[in-house]
């Protein structure tokens, strides 16, 4: 009787241990599944407004994602394919890379080996590509070091860039925006990519003013304050969501 009771207690104890172990193991199992998902060939990455993120894909490819960017990575031993769904990213493919890289942005497919280049989805049909080092190909067109390509359904327009211009184009990788003759409309659009609070030009007379300089992409208040000596003042817009810019000069 005593033996049977002891055996029963053992069974109950074993059941409790098994249940507890299962309960304890289930988060581990979940974690394991998550880790496994991370190592699966397809991975999805995104950045929020103003966020810049660096991801490393294997030993030979590093990707820096700019603000509001979404991309999907599919890897196989033969090829790494990145689908740039929206936004902008800088791809740095090491010289000793054995696996080619293919970046798909809209209808554009960029093929690369050892190179450093950025791809920006301007809209559904237009893509901008800047090659910093090495070369890449789009269809039958080769885009070389220090070239910018605007790719649209109408074709590819290539432009030669100096090293300084390439570096200026890639200032975003350090959290900066640089201007060299852009209009105020273009400059505010660029700031708006990086900030939740938006700049709105409420006065058409100032939108074509050209500007030069360099700012932290998040320092919208200093930028607006520095416009004052140019005869541009701020008026508060939609609560704390927008800053409206108007001319402070009297209309003629």
């Amino acid at each position: 009787m005593a033996r049977r009771s002891r055996a029963r207690r053992k069974t109950i104890f074993a059941a409790i241990v098994t249940t507890t172990a299962a309960a304890l193991l289930s988060p581990v199992a979940l974690m394991s599944a998550w880790v496994h998902a991370e190592t699966l060939p397809t991975q999805v990455f995104s950045t929020a407004v103003g966020e810049i993120r660096r991801i490393v894909l294997g030993e030979q490819l590093a990707v820096k994602m700019n603000t509001s960017t979404g991309l999907t990575v599919t890897s196989s031993p033969q090829l790494c394919e990145v689908s740039l769904d929206h936004g902008e990213a800088l791809f740095d493919l090491q010289r000793d890379s054995t696996r080619p890289l293919r970046v798909v942005a809209g209808n554009v497919a960029v093929s690369a080996r050892a190179s450093k280049f950025s791809v920006r989805v301007l809209d559904a049909k237009n893509v901008e590509l800047v090659v910093s080092t090495g070369q890449v190909t789009v269809g039958t067109t080769t885009i070389r070091e220090h070239q910018l390509a605007r790719i649209s359904p109408g074709g590819i327009v290539l432009r030669e860039f100096s090293e300084a211009e390439v570096n200026r184009k890639l200032e975003w990788t350090t959290g900066h925006i640089s201007f060299s003759g852009e209009t105020l409309a273009e400059a505010t659009a660029e700031f708006n990519r990086y900030n939740v609070r938006k700049l709105v030009i409420s006065d058409r007379t100032i939108s074509t003013l050209t500007i030069g300089g360099k700012f932290s992409s998040s320092d919208i208040d200093s930028f607006v304050a520095a416009l004052r000596p140019m005869g541009i003042r701020r008026v508060e817009g939609d609560g704390d969501k927008a800053i409206c810019l108007v001319s402070s000069r009297e209309p003629h």
Binding site: E182, K214, D219, F223
Partner: protein
């Protein structure tokens, strides 16, 4: 009137000083060149933010600057005789613009009486 003018000037200088804050001396080497290029180099070497009206400034030239200088001293030397002026908006931001033409008081021609 003169006292008021001095006070305004002092306030203006005081503002510039406080906006600039305490600036560190840096080893700077900026070649004489067109203002937009020189300012880009100034920004690169100092890490400060600069804004200017590109079309208004592009045809100005600046002097060479070499030495251990704080950014305010450097800009003063760069802009010497250039026709450009600068203003510290805050401790890390500078606005650059052409110096406005000095208004000369109209001289009343007076003939012999």
């Amino acid at each position: 009137m003169l006292g008021h003018g001095v006070a305004v000037l002092a306030a203006a200088l005081g503002f510039r000083h406080s906006a600039a804050g305490k600036l560190e001396k840096l080893r700077l080497k900026i070649a004489a060149s067109a203002a937009p290029l020189a300012l880009a180099e100034f920004v690169r070497q100092t890490g400060l933010q600069v804004l200017f009206d590109f079309d208004a400034v592009r045809n100005f030239s600046t002097r060479e600057v070499i030495g251990q200088l704080d950014p305010e001293e450097a800009l003063r030397l760069m802009f010497e005789g250039s026709g450009l002026m600068f203003e510290f908006i805050n401790e890390r931001t500078i606005a650059v613009r052409p110096r406005p033409p000095v208004a000369t008081p109209a001289v009343q021609a007076s003939g012999p009486t």
